[in-house]
């Protein structure tokens, strides 16, 4: 694994996952664990959060792509992740366009100019 590099994981709706898997990022490892989660209407928030945390714990994942509307559901877990690896990227979905004001990275960057930082 070390020689091959790290994987890109996806948590998203069906079209997002299908697109990225078409691009060639998909993997089913020896334990039949995928590096993607197709979020459907009946997928619970707990399941999404657990999958996200399992991706964070895996050392073979370098980047996690997540639809922004799904990221909103588990915002606390995303905000709690401070390490640079794996990097978490919020991407738009078909129904929900990308909103920079909701992005955790940009909110952190924006927070630098608040009054609290000058104290």
């Amino acid at each position: 694994m070390a020689g091959r590099g790290k994987l890109i994981a996806v948590i998203g709706d069906e079209d997002t996952c299908t697109g990225f898997l078409l691009g060639g990022i998909g993997e089913l490892n020896k334990n039949r664990k995928p590096n993607f989660l197709v979020v459907e209407k009946d997928t619970s928030v707990t399941e999404i959060e657990e999958t996200f945390k399992s991706f964070l714990a895996r050392n073979d994942i370098g980047i996690i792509l997540i639809n922004q509307f799904i990221a909103e559901m588990i915002r606390h877990a995303i905000d709690a992740h401070m390490q640079s690896i794996p990097a978490v990227l919020e991407i738009p979905s078909k129904e929900h366009p990308y909103d920079a004001s909701k992005d955790s990275i940009l909110r952190r960057a924006k927070g630098m100019f608040s009054a609290e930082d000058f104290r």
Binding site: R4, G5, K6, L7, I8, E14, D15, T16, C17, T18, G19, F20, L21, L22, G23, G24, I25, G26, E27, L28, P34, N35, V38, G62, I63, L65, S84, I85, A87, L89, I91, P92, K94, P97, Y98, A100, I105, L106, R108, A109, M112, D117, F118
Partner: protein, 221 residues
């Protein structure tokens, strides 16, 4: 002395702030490109779905064995930044890795037209006639089935003859993957720059307090 130090730190802070703003601008640009590419990919996928059928382009079509074709190399730089670089996994590596687990393929190993095995008499007769004719048919090396790996390309999950729009969707998403690695690099750079800037800001304020304190002491004397 104190004033010059303060000026220096202010200049340094300005420089860092400008760099930080540049990085943010670049990040925003790349984000916009990524969003457009994803939209293009969805549009092409929808077109493919329209021509192939609703269920033909869905999660139901994913293969049971999936191997990654793209991996990301992450390396940390001296400044604490992370550099992500997307790289396509070469087919050779994946084939050699698969050899041990591959299921035995029943049937002819060579594809294409095969020659019938002939008796010795026929061969000698033929040889004499062939010598007369100078032209010989070029020998085509047989293509072995094991050399090809049809499962590798995810396009094959959706059928053998897929529409052009699905191929376009694939190329759009490939571009998105490359771009996402660049964005990940930029994101970490922005966060590092932010930390650095905050550190410099605090240093400047302590320096400012010191110099103002010294000036007050001078005035008091």
């Amino acid at each position: 002395m104190g004033v010059t130090e303060l000026e220096e730190s202010s200049l340094l802070l300005d420089e860092k702030l400008l760099r930080f703003m540049d990085q943010l601008e670049l990040l925003e640009e790349k984000r916009a490109t990524l969003n457009t590419l994803i939209e293009q990919g969805w549009f092409s996928m929808s077109k493919a779905r329209y021509s192939m059928g609703n269920k033909q382009v869905s999660a139901l079509q994913y293969a049971s064995e999936i191997e990654p074709l793209i991996c990301v190399h992450a390396r940390s730089l001296d400044t604490g930044k992370m550099d992500f670089c997307a790289e396509r996994v070469s087919q050779k590596c994946s084939i050699s890795g698969k050899d041990d687990r591959s299921i035995e393929d029943i049937g002819p190993q060579e594809e294409g037209v095969r020659k019938r095995i002939k008796s010795k008499k026929d061969v000698t007769k033929k040889e004499t006639s062939e010598d007369a004719s100078s032209e010989k048919a070029p020998e085509v090396p047989p293509v072995r089935k094991s050399d090809q790996n049809p499962q590798q390309d995810p396009l094959k999950w959706f059928g053998i003859l897929v529409p052009q729009s699905l191929k376009q969707a694939q190329s759009s998403f490939k571009q998105v993957i490359d771009l996402s690695a660049e964005i990940a690099t930029l994101q970490t750079a922005v966060l590092i720059a932010r930390q650095d800037l905050m550190h410099s800001m605090k240093e400047k304020y302590t320096l400012q307090e010191k110099t103002s304190g010294a000036q007050l002491d001078k005035v008091a004397d």
